[in-house]
């Protein structure tokens, strides 16, 4: 393994560590990584991409539902429940936390607070998405340089 690979590997390790320190990811993401092996080499990438698709669909649904003249809070709650589930399944901790607050405002039928939560979720979601994409990119570079991805 060349010096470049070692350098890239170290960068990747530092970057992923920062994602835990800053709370973007929690231990559930490590669980996903543990489940990835030779028989499923793209498991993490696949599940995270499902999370992206699911989140974007739900965010659009939420935006639509919250912009109705009469807001169906039960529907909102069902969507946020799903988003909370999928974010916790991949360990996207900060998204999951906003979902918890969101559901409380939903129960109070607090329209303004729900809108603020939706904005916050959009924000957190786009952050974690960018971070995960960067991490996958770095993994590719490590592999291309002849290095290996450490399993956790």
């Amino acid at each position: 393994m060349g010096g470049n690979a070692i350098h890239l590997q170290r960068q990747l390790a530092e970057y992923s560590k920062s994602l835990y320190v800053e709370g973007f990811l929690d231990d559930q993401f490590k669980q996903l990584q543990q489940l990835q092996d030779e028989s499923s080499p793209d498991f993490v990438f696949e599940v995270v991409n499902l999370f992206f698709e699911d989140s974007e669909r739900l965010l659009n649904e939420l935006t639509k539902t919250l912009s109705q003249p009469i807001v169906d809070f039960r529907k909102i709650d069902a969507h946020v429940h799903q988003l909370k589930g999928s974010s916790s399944s991949i360990g996207a901790q900060r998204v999951q936390r906003v979902c918890i607050a969101f559901r409380n405002y939903c129960e109070e039928q607090n329209n303004d607070a729900c809108l603020r939560c939706l904005q916050l979720i959009r924000h957190e979601y786009s952050l974690v998405k960018r971070k995960l994409e960067t991490m996958f990119q770095m993994e590719k570079q490590v592999l291309a340089a002849g290095g290996s991805i450490p399993m956790h």
């Binding site: 929690d26 231990d27 559930q28 669980q31 996903l32 543990q34 489940l35 092996d37 028989s39 499923s40 498991f43 696949e46 599940v47 499902l50 999370f51 699911d54 039960r74 709650d77 069902a78 429940h81 799903q82 909370k84 589930g85 999928s86 916790s88 399944s89 991949i90 360990g91 901790q93 999951q96 918890i100 559901r103 129960e107």
Partner: protein
């Protein structure tokens, strides 16, 4: 993880409406050398198990479920199901399985992202072997094997769960690997599973449930529950 060869024969049916969670549970089970079938609804699970639901209205004198003898070659050693699903909930599925003479010996495990004590005790009273909080982890999946071994050696029928109900309100005992993310118990169990039919329960039942709720400590630990009234620590 090292698994004996014989365990690869165990076949688990996993039921979850979320694609992400189906992927996850499938991977968890396969890593543990189980054969896995996943379906996205309770009715598909029943279909796979060889039961089909008759339309109650067209067939009022029949039980809502009847065995389909064409499909019996598929052996399922355990059903693991999400609680909150549109249409048939995991609890409904559990009841149908336990009401069926041909299926009731199959161990059923419920998964839920919500830590709702009343929900947990209701599932255990109905005969669920375990209640896992989501996201399910490898340490949870490791707890499945004893339930399958119990059924596989068919020398004794499933222990009647009434026994546990009468025993005490300690049916739910928790052991834990600590996980601060686990939500605190929620008292209301109404919000996200709107399709769930209202329970008609005897007052006796209600009291029991209340006892269980009060007995549970609201600490923020990752908890698991089983219906033996025993605490099993095997993490």
């Amino acid at each position: 993880m090292v698994m004996a060869a014989s365990e690869s024969q165990f076949h688990v049916l996993a039921v979850d409406d979320s694609l992400i969670d189906r992927k996850l549970i499938e991977r968890l089970l396969k890593t543990s050398s189980y054969q896995v079938t996943t379906v996205d609804s309770g009715s598909k699970a029943l279909e796979f198990l060889g039961l089909h639901e008759d339309d109650d209205r067209s067939n009022p004198n029949q039980p809502s479920i009847s065995p389909n003898h064409n499909n019996q070659e598929v052996e399922v050693n355990l059903v693991i199901t999400d609680y909150c699903m549109p249409g048939m909930t995991g609890y409904d599925l559990l009841k149908k399985i336990k009401e069926s003479s041909s299926l009731r010996d199959i161990p059923v495990v419920i998964m839920s992202s919500e830590n709702v004590p009343s929900r947990i005790s209701r599932c255990l009273e109905e005969g669920a072997e375990e209640f896992f909080l989501k996201p399910v982890r490898l340490s949870d999946v490791n707890k499945l094997k004893p339930h399958m071994l119990k059924t596989k050696s068919k020398n004794s029928p499933q222990k009647p769960n009434e026994q546990d109900d009468q025993g005490s309100t300690e049916a739910s005992s928790a052991s834990a690997t600590s996980s601060p993310e686990t939500p605190s118990p929620v008292t209301e169990d109404t919000k996200e599973c709107q399709s769930q039919p209202q329970q008609s329960q005897s007052p006796n039942n209600k009291n029991k449930r209340k006892g269980v709720e009060e007995g549970l400590s609201p600490d923020r630990t990752r908890s698991r529950y089983n219906n033996n009234g025993l605490t099993v620590v095997s993490n």
